[in-house]
Symmetry: C2
Subunit: 121 residues, 2 copies
Amino acid sequence: MSVLQDAMLSLLKNIRIGEHFTAEQILRELRAAHFSVSLATVYRNLGIFTSEGRIRRVSVAGGPKFYEGNVLPHDHAVCLRCGRISDFALPGLLDLVSENLKGEIISADLTVNYICRDCAE
Amino acid sequence: MSVLQDAMLSLLKNIRIGEHFTAEQILRELRAAHFSVSLATVYRNLGIFTSEGRIRRVSVAGGPKFYEGNVLPHDHAVCLRCGRISDFALPGLLDLVSENLKGEIISADLTVNYICRDCAE
DNA sequence: CTATGTGCAAACTATTTGCCGTCTG
DNA sequence: CAGACGGCAAATAGTTTGCACATAG
């Protein structure tokens, strides 16, 4: 683990739970912290961390992917106005799925589109 | 509505419920039906139909998007071995979501990763 | 005739890769 | 010195767009 990789990982791990970053945002954060790093390297390391299960990659329709340090199972809610992604837990989801689908269930990705309370005003 | 657009729409609407096509596959189907059409036009028309709510666009992590004629609310199960996408219904999902998330819920996209019965053998 | 639809090629966005230099143990 | 790390530029995949021509109503 290089100094840069440590910095990337702790960026993703230590930021407020529920934050989500794109590769571009991570690049900006790292540069703000005086790393002279390139986008290719950010992507390369994000790929490594994701395949090691240290971080999680989140796809949201029609845009860049987001990365988060929270690898515990949880779901995402995307506000259609401000675009912000929030984590939320939906206990019982996997049970509900396995009652309704035959086969060996590996995981379930739930993305809820909603209008968050800030935007609803 | 041009003849081509009619053909695209009925392709998406009439095929066995639960089928999902990529833009490339639709192009191939149309050409097999003797249309001399380009990929750009397929994408253009898919975009129009999607924004009109006549078809639905489905994103699956790390690949091209799929399109389906079934616009009724339903969920998707992706087999991690064969990659096939199946429709399935999860009654009670929206209720479960609204019990656990504050805000105005618009829709919920659930994608289940699993091993289908054909692949399990 | 006017709007709509289409092909083609080029642009674009997000991401990945090859190559080669560099740093570290 | 070997192997991991990283910069740069080019490649790639999927999708979108500008433009000029064709076609339908």
